[in-house]
């Protein structure tokens, strides 16, 4: 998009003096590449191809065209005036990732990674999914490029997200229900890794979040950073200044890092990540590793994890399947350690209240994931004045959640 008054907004590759790239794949003490030896070569290949393509104008132009014509970017930045009035706190602006093709920010990453898969000559794509949004976004790009697609999904999630399961099947993907472990997202990731280790020659694994072994946290971040780049220049255009705070939900953390990253050097902008507090941190029934976890190694990277004293990864709970993950992207762990971002929690109930509030005030059904970010704004509205600006990443739409919300209301559809 055009903007004349901000020279940094389109600076996608660098210019951040805090840090530019992970060093050897590490973000401070976090990140790295902790995988079986069989995958090391594929990760090396992916890394060097990506380093080449991120500087390749042809690739960047192809990506930009896909984002514009297929995904529908740029997504609007919307001033939620009624919501702002009702909460009588800051002016609330919503970055409308829910309006993307397939209904969430996930497609920004899958479009980019599909182009990588194509360049690598892979004929098959695999993905893991929790809520199903990343699975749908992967199945979508696979259909478009004529690639075979298999999506791993915890058996538990297959049940609670049946609509997205059928969507993936309509798009031609094979959905595999994973019955091992806790039967949720982390086990789907394990199973996808097992597939990849077996079929590494002809298969590209599209990890859906900013976790996993290097280079995934970096490349998924770069593909999602379009959210923050747009938001930054939209804000400057509409308001002539930067927002006072950015708020995004954090499961693995891809929508949050995508929004935060282009603002990292704008020290006056607060970065707030909101984890799933589930039934409350004190109950242990939550998915908030940054708030209540400790550092460990899972799924190829070192990061904050929910684990017991023996290092066994704990089951998580959240009303939102997309946040139901015991780890978090290593860059978030780093931003927490250096104090650049703050990480809060809201409970299931608070997220549900925020969901309903946005329905009635703005005519928008947010995803239950994104409702966590809204709930933090609702809880914190008093701490802002009316001339302050809070920008919330509305990372996805709530259509996929309608059945489960109806169920909570005791209604059978």
């Amino acid at each position: 998009m055009s903007n004349t008054d901000d020279s940094n907004a389109n600076n996608s590759g660098g210019g951040f003096n805090l840090y530019e790239q992970p060093v050897d794949g590490h973000f401070g003490d976090h990140g790295g590449r902790f995988v079986a030896e069989t995958l090391m070569h594929a990760l090396d290949e992916l890394e060097s191809l990506y380093e080449e393509l991120r500087a390749d104008p042809e690739f960047q132009a192809e990506l930009k065209a896909d984002l514009q014509h297929y995904v529908g970017r740029p997504s609007p930045l919307y001033h939620a005036e009624r919501l702002s009035d009702v909460l009588s706190g800051p002016q609330i602006y919503l970055k409308r990732e829910d309006l993307n093709h397939t209904g969430a920010h996930k497609v920004n990453n899958t479009v980019g990674q599909a182009l990588l898969a194509k360049r690598m000559g892979k004929r098959r794509i695999i993905a893991e999914t929790g809520a199903g949004q990343h699975g749908v976004a992967s199945a979508t790009v696979a259909a478009r490029l004529g690639l075979e697609c298999r999506v791993y999904m915890g058996a538990e999630d297959v049940q609670r997200q049946s609509l997205n399961v059928y969507r993936m099947k309509l798009l031609g993907a094979e959905v595999v229900a994973v019955n091992s472990g806790t039967r949720t997202l982390k086990d789907a990731l394990n199973e996808a890794m097992r597939d990849w280790v077996t079929n590494v020659d002809d298969t590209h694994y599209i990890i859906g979040t900013v976790a996993g072994p290097h280079p995934y946290p970096m490349l998924v971040r770069d593909f999602q950073a379009v959210i923050g780049q747009e938001a930054r220049s939209q804000c400057l255009q509409m308001l002539g200044r930067l927002p006072d705070a950015l708020v995004a939900c954090v499961g693995g953390g891809s929508n949050a890092i995508g929004l935060f990253h282009p603002f990292i050097d704008d020290k006056e902008v607060r970065l707030v990540g909101v984890e799933a507090g589930g039934l409350g941190l004190s109950t242990g029934q939550h998915a908030a590793p940054l708030n209540a976890g400790s550092v460990g190694v899972l799924h190829g990277n070192r990061t904050y994890l929910m684990q017991d004293d023996d290092g066994q990864v704990l089951g998580t709970h959240s009303v939102s399947a997309g946040l139901d993950y015991p780890g978090v992207g290593p860059e978030h762990s780093f931003l927490k350690d250096i104090g650049r971002a703050e990480y809060a929690t809201v409970t299931d109930d608070e997220a549900m209240e925020a969901f309903r509030l946005l329905n009635r005030t703005e005519g928008i059904l947010p995803a239950l994931e994104s409702s966590h970010a809204l709930a933090w704004v609702k809880n914190s509205a008093d701490s802002f004045s009316a001339d302050q600006v809070v920008l919330v990443n509305l990372s996805g739409r709530g259509d996929k959640d309608i059945l489960s919300v109806a169920q909570m209301d005791g209604i059978e559809l």
Partner: protein, 267 residues
């Protein structure tokens, strides 16, 4: 000389292939492991790998995944695994014991504490499935200072430069993963193993053990022709699973199963 070195030296002198076995600690019952290890030695095992149960065993096939889940269901943590090794050591001072598992188990205990306790229990080696050589120096040095070898893995996808680097960083032996896939998978290609292990042996001063997909006397014999030894895991774990309801039968079954493989190797 470490127990692993002694064992490999003796095997070389006798011109015999090494038979390495894997079972998961606490599977199918917490008291089943030490008798199983003794039975494996009786059946001809030269090196014993003991799996540390982990919640997310991402490189394992269904057999070892389930064994890990059974171990966890029986409440077996890393401390208990070390206690089992110590118990085994009371009656067997010579058979090397190598722990195998995932890095988070060792990190949670603390690498230095682990190294101390493992040395005390009589552990000889450690294999961490998800710890590549690039990330391994700290743990390797802590272990080495206590006489424990950090075994590293080489895969069919490992480039020749990497194989050289890994062979240089490994201690004890090099574990060659015989196929692209998970433990217990089908699709073992002996001619590919021959080629890769042959190349590996030109850069490795250490013995090369080959594992993943070796399940019976025939596959053991075929692979052992090209390596210093073979690892049998899922096939033993399957035997234990089938007898989970009658754990007293397990030692006898394991001994018989292993004797057949031993005979094929010595043939």
């Amino acid at each position: 000389m470490s127990r692993l070195q002694q064992r490999f030296a003796a095997l070389k002198q006798a011109d015999r292939k090494a038979l390495v076995t894997f079972v998961t600690a606490g599977d199918p019952a917490s008291h089943a492991t030490v008798p199983a290890l003794r039975a494996l030695v009786e059946g001809g095992a030269d090196v014993l790998e003991v799996g540390i149960p982990f919640s997310d065993p991402e490189a394992e096939g269904p057999s070892i995944q389930r064994s890990s889940e059974r171990g966890l269901a029986n409440g077996i943590g890393l401390v208990d695994v070390l206690a089992m090794v110590a118990e085994f050591r009371q009656h067997d001072g010579s058979t090397p014991v190598v722990l195998m598992g995932y890095l988070n188990s060792v990190l949670a205990m603390g690498p230095e504490t682990f190294a101390d306790l493992a040395a005390e229990a009589g552990v000889d080696g450690l294999i961490m499935v998800n710890l590549p050589p690039e990330e391994s120096a700290e743990i390797r040095d802590l272990l080495e200072a206590r006489g424990i070898d950090l075994v590293l893995l080489v895969a069919p996808t490992t480039t020749s430069e990497r194989a050289r680097m890994i062979a240089g960083a490994a201690r004890g032996f090099v574990y060659y993963v015989s196929l692209k896939g998970i433990t217990g998978a089908a699709g073992l290609d002996v001619s590919s193993v021959e080629e890769k292990v042959g190349a590996l042996k030109t850069v490795s001063a250490l013995p090369v053990m080959v594992g993943f997909g070796i399940k019976d006397p025939e596959s053991a014999r075929a692979v052992a022709q090209h390596a210093d030894g073979v690892v049998v895991g899922s096939a033993l774990v399957d035997t234990m699973e089938r007898s989970a309801e009658r754990p007293d039968n397990i030692p006898g079954l394991l001994t018989d199963q292993l004797r057949a493989i031993r005979a094929a190797l010595d043939d």
